[in-house]
């Protein structure tokens, strides 16, 4: 699509795009290029020079037990976060869509978590499940369950998943509700007249018509789980116990800033970059929608 | 006030020629209508005069001055757009005043000019409204007002009535004509509607595929079309075309003759036989649609009093030879 009307001039438009181009070049393309460049080197032990290793960093990573474990952790984590938050959101959206009055009130109440930063969400859930003072921990103790996510890997994973999913429910709810409300009422009524009960209608009419929204949310939520949950992980578990919650982004951070292993961290960045690109292309190809945030 | 002159004006988009060289002299105060089917290049022609489209070759002169490379605002023109192009966030007053503000006209004079235009167009009660709060006809008037306040040398109209309903269109057509008479501003008006062209124009340009087939006063064009295209495009219902061979002695060479519906009579014995398809009785007149032996459609327009033949009936058609227009194989008038 192109505009028919244009203004004349060359210097003015160049001046207009200059700020964005400058900022993008300095803070985006240069660092992204650096990441790719650094991924091909390892620094010597004194940090004085860089040694070319070609794809050595990648080979090393892919053979590294911890990195492969982190891949698996990321996969499990993002699938769980996506399923839990989308499931709860869909459930609430279907209920809100059934209401004639008052769905606006529920919507207002349910969008709160969108405003809560992942890191803050992490602190809130950490507080509830804190091993010493957590309310939920205490009540679980009454029931005879000894909650300790600091030591138990499964419980740690469960906690970061719930905290991450919680913060994402608002977003998914809004999109599901919009998707449901876009389904023509007459289609549902026709199915009802055909004798389909609520559950049958949902399965045969609503769910298929909702599938573009669902697919879109699937991709967006996976990207969210990959990157934006850093705050949750960092506040609740710091990747532990025994790296049980070290997702890929967390590992880029801990290897690059804590471990100071620049080559490996850069190679990890490049791999992440490839994963996001694939996800974005998939999304563009299949639903022609755009992701961010 | 000004004259407009087009000299061998051409326009190409890349390799595609859309205007093939137009010559025209528009007199001061004249109302010229460019008419043609969609895609014939009429809007492009107008936009070249406006300066919204570059000129590929040839010249546009306004008042004897070549303006090919001048910006629209320097050409001393004003334009009324098909969808009015009112600024949605500005009041009616601000819409009309915007060009004057840019030209740094003193405020009291702006207020004065807008007030005059608003009075002329009966827009006074609406000056503080936003365009979305106006009806289609009112928006049309605001678009006119925006053109008038600038006191341009030339008005350009790009299908200004095509977004209005039929009744309003007739009314606004009259208003535009009266306004133009009153102000005496040279006007160039684009439309695809031949009725609009006939009623508004001092002279019209009938365009066909980038070529000006004919330039002339409406009635001259109607009575004396220069090409088969013009004969078919101007007039409703359109001219009947009959293969010259079919009626015998048509000069040969594969030409056709054209004869307007009001010039054809149904008789017992005529120059051509045809079968009645159906008849439309419109009250004052009746249109009878027939099919000739070769399958060609023929329409006859007759007064209400005359008898209407039955469907399927075979009739003979007759006409005065003086009314016949002969066209050669290339569609040119012989």
């Amino acid at each position: 699509m192109e505009k028919r009307v244009t203004f004349k001039g060359i210097w003015l438009p160049l001046l207009l795009v200059l700020p964005q181009i400058l900022i993008t070049a300095v803070f985006f393309f240069y660092p992204a290029g650096q990441a790719i460049y650094q991924s091909l080197f390892i620094p010597d032990p004194f940090g004085l020079s860089m040694q070319w290793v070609g794809l050595g960093n990648f080979e090393y990573l892919l053979s590294d037990r911890y990195y492969r474990a982190s891949f698996l952790t990321t996969a499990i984590f993002s699938i769980l976060v996506t399923v839990v938050s989308m499931g709860v959101a869909l459930y609430l959206a279907v209920l809100a869509d059934r209401l004639i009055k008052g769905s606006g009130t529920y919507r207002t109440l349910l969008i709160w978590p969108y405003a809560v930063a992942p890191a803050v969400a992490g602190v809130l859930w950490l507080f509830m499940f804190n091993t010493r003072v957590g309310v939920v921990t205490w009540y679980l103790g009454l029931l005879g369950y000894d909650w300790n996510h600091v030591l138990n890997e499964g419980e740690a994973m469960g906690l970061v998943v719930v905290a991450s999913a919680w913060g994402r429910i608002s977003y998914n709810f809004l999109f599901f509700l919009a998707g449901l409300q876009a389904i023509p009422k007459s289609v549902i009524e026709a199915a009802a007249i055909d004798g389909a009960r609520f559950w049958t209608r949902f399965r045969t009419i609503v769910w298929p018509l909702l599938s573009p929204t669902t697919f879109f949310l699937l991709v967006v939520n996976i990207i969210y789980a990959f990157f934006e949950t850093f705050g949750v992980i960092h506040t609740i578990t710091s990747g532990g116990p025994q790296q049980a919650t070290t997702i890929l982004v967390y590992k880029v951070y801990s290897d690059g800033f804590v471990g100071q292993d620049l080559g490996s961290s850069a190679a990890q960045s490049v791999i992440l970059l490839a994963i996001v690109s694939v996800l974005t292309v998939v999304q563009f190809k299949y639903i022609e929608r755009r992701v961010h945030y | 006030m000004a004259t407009v002159t087009l000299k061998n004006l051409k326009k190409s988009f890349g390799p595609t020629d859309v205007i093939h060289g137009i010559d025209m002299d528009i007199a001061d105060g004249e109302f010229v209508v460019i008419v043609g089917p969609s895609g014939c290049g009429k809007s492009t022609l107008l936009r070249m005069v406006a300066g919204l489209e570059t000129v590929t070759s040839g010249e546009v002169q306004i008042d004897g001055r070549v303006v090919n490379n001048e910006e629209p605002m320097d050409r001393d023109i004003a334009m009324v757009f098909q969808n009015y192009a009112l600024y949605p966030h500005m009041s009616v007053f601000d819409n009309m005043a915007y060009g004057l503000k840019i030209a740094k006209v003193p405020k009291p004079e702006i207020a004065d000019r807008v007030a005059t235009a608003a009075k002329l167009l009966q827009l006074e009660p609406y000056l503080q409204r936003k365009p979305r709060e106006l009806s289609g006809g009112q928006r049309q008037r605001v678009a006119m007002g925006r053109a008038i306040v600038r006191k341009p040398a030339v008005f350009l109209f790009d299908e200004p009535l095509s977004n209005l309903d039929a009744k309003l269109r007739v009314q606004m057509r009259l208003e535009i004509k009266q306004l133009q008479r009153e102000l005496g501003v040279t006007s160039l008006y684009v439309t695809h509607d031949q009725v609009e062209a006939m009623t508004l124009a001092d002279r019209m340009i009938v365009m066909n595929a980038g070529v000006a087939d004919q330039i002339g006063a409406p009635l001259d064009v109607y009575a004396n079309p220069a090409t088969e295209f013009v004969a078919g495009f101007i007039g409703s219902p359109p001219t009947n075309f009959i293969d010259a061979a079919l009626i015998g002695g048509g000069g040969g060479g594969g030409g056709r003759i054209g004869i307007r519906p009001e010039h054809v009579r149904l008789t017992d014995q005529g120059q051509l036989e045809a079968v009645v398809g159906y008849a439309e009785a419109l009250g004052a007149e009746t249109l009878i649609h027939l099919r000739a032996k070769d399958g060609g459609q023929i329409t006859v327009r007759q007064d209400a009093g005359q008898p209407i033949p039955h469907e399927g009936q075979t009739c003979a058609l007759d006409w005065d030879t003086a009314q016949v227009m002969r066209f050669d194989a290339n569609g040119m008038r012989q």
Partner: protein
Amino acid sequence: MSERNGMVEKRGGGLWLTHLGLIIGVAFIFFPIWLAFVASTVDQQEIVRPPMPLLPGDQLIENYTKALTSGVNAPVAAMLLNSLIMAMGIAIGKIAISLLSAFAIVYFRFPGRKLFFWLIFLTLMLPVEVRIVPTFEVIANFGMLNSYSGLILPLIASATATFLFRQFFMTVPDELAEAARVDGAKPMRFFIDILLPMSRTNIAALFVILFIYGWNQYLWPLLITTDPSMNTIVMGIKQMFPSGDDIADWPVIMATSILAMVPPVIVVVGMQKLFIRGLVESEK
């Protein structure tokens, strides 16, 4: 749009079950926030002896005053200011540069236009987390650690807003620009007088989204603000936890968490319509 009816069957208890289901959902959403609020109104003793109460106590003013004026490492009031500057800087900065470049890309034909378009397009794909280490080095080399420009600039380098405005500008009728030209408006005049006022709602909607995006940043401020006085509130909370076995000052931490939520919640709930519009449109 016709009035939407809810259920097809309108019989009996279904409505109450629907409400019940939603209320359970709302309770699940609000419980963590409620608990944080309660914790911010009681004293440390009530928390370290579980179970803590589920209704607010009387220490609200003390806890919030302590958090705002002294905090743990740095006064939270200063962190709030830092967060506000960062969020506003990101929102305003991104909107400003995006409006300008979208205007240039849509309304001009200039050499390199396609190239710029694709360069900007590429940035859509990559969150700052992916290029975090080299970006950190750039900021360090510029001496922008512990500075507002260091907090803001790298997060502006993304093209979502540019695309949104480009899409909107494409829907503005061509005739408006032509009418402005006939009226004698030069490009920038058209931009300021016509295009900007017409973009008002889009700008506002995007502002809401970007403000929250900026306010909720965590990793980036964590890396580049080593000086506690430059901490933003969202990352500052984690810094309040003691290392080792000391007990955290939960009432102050929870008061800080509530303070960290209040501005974005006000923005989201108060500008709900714009927010939802911005959200749905920026993802389209």
